[in-house]
Structures are given as C-alpha cells and as structure tokens.
Amino acid sequence: MLKILKHIALTIISTLIAWSANSQEISIKSCDNLLNSGFVSDGQEYIAKPDENNKATFHATFYGGSNYRVVACSDVEEIPLILTVYDTEKNLLFCNKSYDYTSYWNFTFTSTIDCIIEIEFDHEILIQNEVMLLIGFKEK
C-alpha cells in the first residue's frame, strides 16, 4: 500500500516539476536559456504583438550549410504557442503542434532559404501579450 502511495506521490511530483519547468522555459525573461547547446544568438530579440488571428509573423533568411535553433516564448503560461516555419511558397517545413508545443526546434539547411516563421497563441480569445522569437546559429 505504502509502495503504491509512494509511487503516486512521486508521479505527481515529477509531473508538477515537469510542468513547472516547462512553464518557466516559455517565459520571455528566461527564453534565452533555450539558446544553449552551442547555439549562438544572432544578436537580436524579435518581439511582436499578435494580429487579430493571435499570430505574429517573422521573415528570416537561413544560410545553407548552417545549423539553427528557433525559440518561441511568451509570458502567458496557460496558453501554448504554435511555432510554424514555412518557406516563402508557404510549404510547411515544421510545426510544433505535432511535437507537444515544444518551445524550440533545431534546423539544418541544405541551401540558403528565406522563411516565414509564425508564432500563434493556440486560443480562441484574442491575446494582447507579446511573443518573442530568438534565432541561434551554429557554424561548426
């Protein structure tokens, strides 16, 4: 009985810790912490207010042969962010909705490509809070 209780307690704690860690990693203040693993910031913080569709759009160029990390953050803990990357012909290159709304994703580009990155609050109500995009690169 005690073992079962212990197991339940530990499961609750690990879930809460994971939830707590996840909510911390998406805040704008701590967004920087996700640019790790050797990725170097491109030197900018891209902040935008979402439009009437809860969506902010970013135009970026990624060089062929380089590795990138793209990070999306907001200060609204309760609402997940959809991070989507398209080429300029609107072909889908990545969407985090299929990957548990992960706050970051890594990319390697074979050729230099201009992309459209969208960050969207996955919510029906219009949200006024800003979203932040960070781009890190790794050359080696």
């Binding site: 009437e52 160029t61 060089y63 609204v76 219009l126």
Partner: protein
C-alpha cells in the same frame, strides 16, 4: 519499523514538495486575474486597433564573416574600419552605424584569431556605447567575460553576440529602436562589404553566392529602417541608397525547389532539404561591390 519511518518521511516530504509546488502555482490568484485581464477579449467595435505583428530579421553578420574564413580567404586587415576613425563620429546616427560596423569587424578579427586587434576594436565599441548612452546594456560581467575569454574564439563569439543582444534589448525597452535599427544596418553593411571584397579578389563561388543570397536580408533591412525615413535627412539618404542597391539585386536570378524535410524527433531537428540557386553576373557583382563600398565610405569616412 525504522525503514517504515524513513519511507513515511520520504512520502511525507514528497507530498509536501508536491503540494507546495502545486500551491505555488495556485497562490497568485491575483496574478492569474491580472493575466486574464491582460488577454481579455478586445472590443472589436473600435477601429483604432494597431498591431505590430510582422517582424523582419537579418542573419548574424558574423555568419557572413564565417563564410569568408570557410572559403580559405586570407585575412585582410586593410578592409576593416580603423579604430582611430572613432573620433570622427560625433552624432548618434554616425555612432550607431559604426558600432554595428565595428561589431562585424570584431567578429571578422575573432574568426581570424587577431587577438591584439580584437582588444582595440572592443575598446572602440565600449567608447561608442558610452557616447550613445547605452553603456548600461554592457553589464560589468559581460565586459569581464569578454576580457577573460579574449583568446578563446568560441566563447568570445558568444559574449560578443550577447553584447549586441543586450544593446538591442536595452534600446527596445528604452524606446530608442531607431538606434538599434542603425546598429543592425551598420553590421549588415559591413558584412556585405567584407563579402564583396572577398568575392572581387578571389572570385570564390561560395562567397559570390552568399552575396546573391543577401537580397531578402536587404529587403528586410529596408523594412526595418523605413519607419524612420522622415527622422532626418541622414536616415532618408541611407534608406534611399539601400533601395538603390536593392535594384541591383533584382538583376540576380534565383531558383528554388521545395523538397519534403526530414524530421528527427529525438534530436528535435529538421533537415530542410529544399534547394536554392543563385546566378549572378560579373556586372551585377561589381556593381553591388561598388555600391556597398560607396554606402560604407559615407558612413566611416
């Protein structure tokens, strides 16, 4: 008995931690109400809704200098803006553009391990940041780290880009976005200048292609600067010269073919396999090189 007691204690502690974590999330009823307020439903009856929801980004100028090194081009100190020129820059407009230019030069010097020069260029950047009143963005620990890792290429790059991100963040939060835009412009102008010098000298295909790939970054830079077009004649002249340069990029032929990307869930990684090609004539290459050189000369004099 003793083991049971330990188990109970573990269980008790575990539950306590769990409850405290849970309660931590529940305590800020007030915060939660504030958050709710902050994303309240907007009254769409008012037409005066203005969103700033499209952002234009530029690749790091350090990446351009990497491609010069990757192509095995020799280091050329003469193409950089000499640190002594710093005394010529008396207006915020000149100082901002040149802090961007010196930043790209610093990246170039770092990649080629020119340590003594790195020190003098960093000193110049510190000086300009004081003159621009953005020295507060340069936290003491960043300066210490840069000085500590001056001979470590990788660490230095991290702290250098960190410095420019601090400038950017500081300027945005202090409503001096136009200074930030000029710093970005200076960085990009210098990176295209370094690329064009390398391309004209070596006719290296990789560098020539990288120049051709600057079409969209240039369009983005014009978008970033255009809200400030009427700020001053200096601003409008700079934007006009970049627009004129953009016309030359219209003569470059681009092709793009989409291919299904490859996803590796474990590495949280996507390999984008789509391909692009750039065809740039010698005429366009030379014209771009001449035009970027003229734009830069007006900035650094």
């Amino acid at each position: 008995m003793f083991r049971n007691s330990i188990n109970n204690r573990i269980l008790y502690t575990a539950l306590l931690i769990g409850l405290s974590l849970f309660s931590c999330k529940n305590i800020p009823e007030k915060e939660s109400a504030e958050t709710k307020k902050s994303y309240r439903e907007i009254d769409t009856s008012t037409v005066l809704l203005k969103f700033n929801n499209t952002v234009f980004t530029l690749p790091s100028p350090y990446q351009a200098t990497y491609s010069v090194k990757k192509s095995n081009l020799e280091f050329k100190k003469s193409i950089l803006n000499p640190p002594d020129n710093v005394s010529n820059y008396s207006t915020n407009f000149q100082q901002s553009l040149n802090i961007g230019i010196y930043g790209t030069d610093l990246g170039y010097l770092n990649i080629y391990d020119q340590i003594p020069e790195v020190i003098s260029y960093f000193t110049v950047i510190k000086k300009l940041s004081f003159e621009l009143g953005i020295q507060n963005a340069l936290q003491t620990d960043i300066i210490d780290k840069i000085e500590e890792y001056i001979d470590n290429q990788d660490s230095l790059l991290v702290y250098l880009t960190g410095t420019y991100k601090e400038f950017d963040s500081y300027l945005k939060s202090n409503n001096r976005k136009e200074i930030g835009a000029l710093i970005v412009a200076g960085g990009w102008i210098e990176s295209l200048y370094i690329l064009s010098q390398g391309a004209v000298d070596s006719e290296n295909r990789q560098i020539i292609n990288r120049i051709g790939e600057q079409k969209h970054p240039l369009d983005n830079l014009i978008e970033i600067l255009s809200p400030y077009y009427y700020n001053s004649k200096e601003f409008s002249d700079l934007i006009d010269s970049l627009v004129d340069l953009a016309y030359e990029f219209d003569g470059i032929i681009y092709s793009y073919t989409y291919e299904e990307p490859e996803i590796d869930l474990q590495r949280k990684h996507t390999l984008v396999k789509s391909t692009s090609n750039v065809i740039i004539s010698e005429y366009h290459l030379k014209t771009i090189a001449n035009k970027i050189s003229a734009i830069r000369n007006k900035i650094i004099y």
